[in-house]
């Protein structure tokens, strides 16, 4: 059974009286453990597609299955629970909570699903922060971290609950090339070590080099889908 399955997914936005198609019928199957990139020009529907896959939005037409379960017509509450337990997100602008430390930002994600002992949670958070190379920076707040460090916190936050799928929307767009490479290397490492499936959108050719699968999106449709290695 595939981790993710999209069949004829369409998304049409209504802007006033005009209907704007963002996705025009996407068929896609993603297996567990894949490290895929979605690329394409601006307005091609990358973010819309990630939102559909991430259960943040529902398609106008078509079907989405996550882990075999149909998620395309779930209620808001059910979608929230699906995201909570199955999906991690990494955003371009990190979206860390400024009043929380790096440790607390990561803890925040795990507290939503794990109400076990403080000690167990602490162990898990510290471990993931160490894995993304932030050992010693646990008590720093976002304004005391560099862009690269902030994005690593965001990756740790996405991974700490050990989701089946991590979606990253242009995760390196705000980073310099060195930090971008570091962040992608961490995602690759996590993909290998934890077997987490990654799907990320990017414009950056350097970042794309690390992917195993390239999904090219054009005018709301998949124009190319290639695998490497």
């Amino acid at each position: 059974m595939s981790l993710l399955e999209l069949k004829g997914v369409k998304k049409i936005y209504q802007q006033g009286k005009i209907k704007v198609p963002a996705l025009r019928g996407v068929d896609l199957i993603v297996e567990q453990g894949e490290f895929s990139t979605i690329f394409g020009p601006s307005g091609s529907g990358k973010t819309t597609l990630l939102n559909m896959i991430g259960c943040l939005d529902t398609p106008t037409e078509g079907e989405i299955r996550l882990n075999g379960n149909k998620v395309s017509d779930l209620s808001r509450k059910a979608l929230a629970m699906t995201r909570r337990f199955n999906i991690g997100f990494v955003f371009q602008s990190y979206n860390l909570i400024p009043v929380l430390t790096a440790y607390e930002n990561v803890e925040f994600a795990i507290r939503l699903i794990d109400h076990t002992s403080e000690l167990k949670v602490k162990e898990r958070v510290l471990k993931i922060l160490e894995e993304v190379g932030l050992k010693g920076l646990e008590n720093r707040r976002p304004n005391e971290l560099s862009g690269g460090e902030s994005q690593r916190v965001a990756i740790a936050r996405a991974l700490v609950k050990e989701p089946k799928l991590v979606l990253a929307d242009e995760p390196t767009a705000n980073l310099d090339s060195k930090n971008a490479a570091d962040v992608v290397k961490i995602m690759v490492k996590m993909n290998k070590e934890l077997g987490t499936t990654f799907i990320f959108s990017t414009h950056d050719p350097m970042v794309m080099e690390y992917a195993h699968r390239y999904i090219n999106l054009k005018d709301g449709m998949i124009s190319a889908d290639e695998r490497r290695g």
Partner: protein, 413 residues
């Protein structure tokens, strides 16, 4: 729960805005506590003035007299005898009794004339029930049989009278014939009770009785007890004693003579409700404004929370905790400010001369200075009231924030 922790940590954001909201709430609470203290102080002072200068704790009179007492009739007077005295004197908690004869008179100083209330008293007994003697500012209290009067300083100034001057009281006897009482001003009093200061002429009881032709009749007997907070059982005991002796006299609480002040006290409750409503509105506007602005500023953050799978009620809880924190800090600050204001009013009071000095114009028997009172229950009430306002007024804007579409929130559309 992490939502609570996050809500509390969020209090450290937008410090300036939170501080302004906290200050607004604190100021509103301060106003409430200060007004409550002043109102309470006025009420207490009014009641004290009524008891100490006007009625004692209990008044004993014939019911027919009691009903018409405002007109100061010379009918249905009490004629003192052994049975009446015995019915009162063995009551538990009794400190003193004072017979008094109240009558209508016109005071004439030889030039002008003014309507006054004449009060025939036995000085020794009167001084055991009332505190008027402590406010004697000139001269002395008369002795029984002396043709002397004691008047208030206000009345003396109005009629241009001083110690040693002579006045004539024009009166109507029980038989509706005119009579006069010539008296020398023997003493001047300056009490905190406006009526005593401006409208009463104290005269020896025997002289008043003789002039009014009422033999040994008195309008009422006033009683001072040492159980001021438990006068109902004392009143019941007195009434039972009268009943046993088949005397149709009744005892009445001072409260029945303080209807204006009690009515004012009831009006004060309505005023408190208005003040509370204003505080409610101020607090609600402050909190709603705070939550809406926070939600607008944190739109992306709300989107991120939703992306992580936070449910709407969990996001609502974050905002409610934050609003509750503002309410608690505002409430504490308000209570501290209130305590300072109330403490100042309790210690130093407020000189009414700045606003005219005589509250009797409004039916309140207070002159000169009012003091605040401590009312712990008001502090507790307003503190929790603030938290409840904060919680309830944050629900709608917090729900509005939490209900945002996650995609629109994430990309701030």
């Amino acid at each position: 729960m992490f939502s609570i922790k996050l809500g509390l940590k969020n209090l450290t954001r937008q410090k300036r805005r939170n501080s302004i909201t906290i200050l607004v709430i604190a100021f509103a609470f301060f106003i409430y506590l200060f007004l409550d203290s002043v109102m309470g102080g006025m009420e207490q002072l009014s009641f004290n003035n009524i008891i100490n200068f006007e009625t004692g704790n209990i008044q004993v009179a014939y019911p027919q007299y009691w009903e018409e007492r405002e007109e100061l009739p010379l009918e249905n007077l009490i004629y003192l005898n052994q049975d009446i005295e015995e019915s009162i004197k063995n009551i538990d908690g009794l400190l003193a009794t004072s017979p008094e004869l109240r009558f209508i008179a016109n005071l004439n100083n030889g030039i002008d004339e003014i309507a006054v209330i004449g009060l025939g008293i036995l000085p020794e007994k009167y001084n055991e029930v009332y505190t008027t003697q402590q406010y004697l500012v000139a001269g002395s209290i008369f002795s029984p049989g002396e043709s002397k009067a004691v008047i208030g300083k206000g009345l003396a100034e109005l009629m241009d009278l001083k110690i040693g001057d002579y006045i004539t009281l024009l009166i109507r006897t029980k038989e509706e014939t005119f009579n006069t009482i010539d008296l020398e001003i023997g003493g001047l009093v300056n009490t905190p009770h406006p009526m005593i200061n401006n409208g009463i002429v104290f005269v020896p009881l025997d002289i008043a009785q003789q002039a009014l032709n009422v033999e040994n009749g008195v309008s009422m007997i006033t009683i001072r007890t040492n159980k001021e907070k438990e006068i109902t059982p004392i009143i019941d005991d007195i009434n039972q004693n009268f009943q046993k002796k088949n005397i149709n006299i009744k005892a009445y609480s001072w409260r029945e003579s303080a209807e204006t002040v009690i009515a004012y006290s009831a009006a004060q409750d309505a005023e408190t409700a208005v003040v509370l409503t204003v505080i409610l509105v101020i607090g609600m506007i402050g909190i709603i404004n705070n939550v809406i602005l926070s939600a607008l500023e944190r739109t992306r953050e709300i989107g991120m929370m939703k992306a992580l799978g936070m449910r709407e009620w969990e996001i609502v809880l974050v905002f409610m905790i934050e609003a509750c924190g503002v309410g608690i800090i505002g409430g504490l600050a308000g209570c501290l400010l209130g305590a300072a204001g109330v403490g100042w009013m309790v210690k130093y009071g407020y000189d009414l001369s700045y606003i005219g000095g005589d509250m009797s114009l409004y039916g309140i028997p207070i002159l000169d200075k009012i003091y605040g009172v401590w009312n712990l229950s008001s502090f507790i009430f307003i503190f929790f009231f603030g938290i409840i306002i904060a919680l309830f007024s944050s629900i709608a804007p917090a729900y509005w924030a939490a209900h945002k579409d996650p995609v629109k929130a994430l990309y701030h559309r």
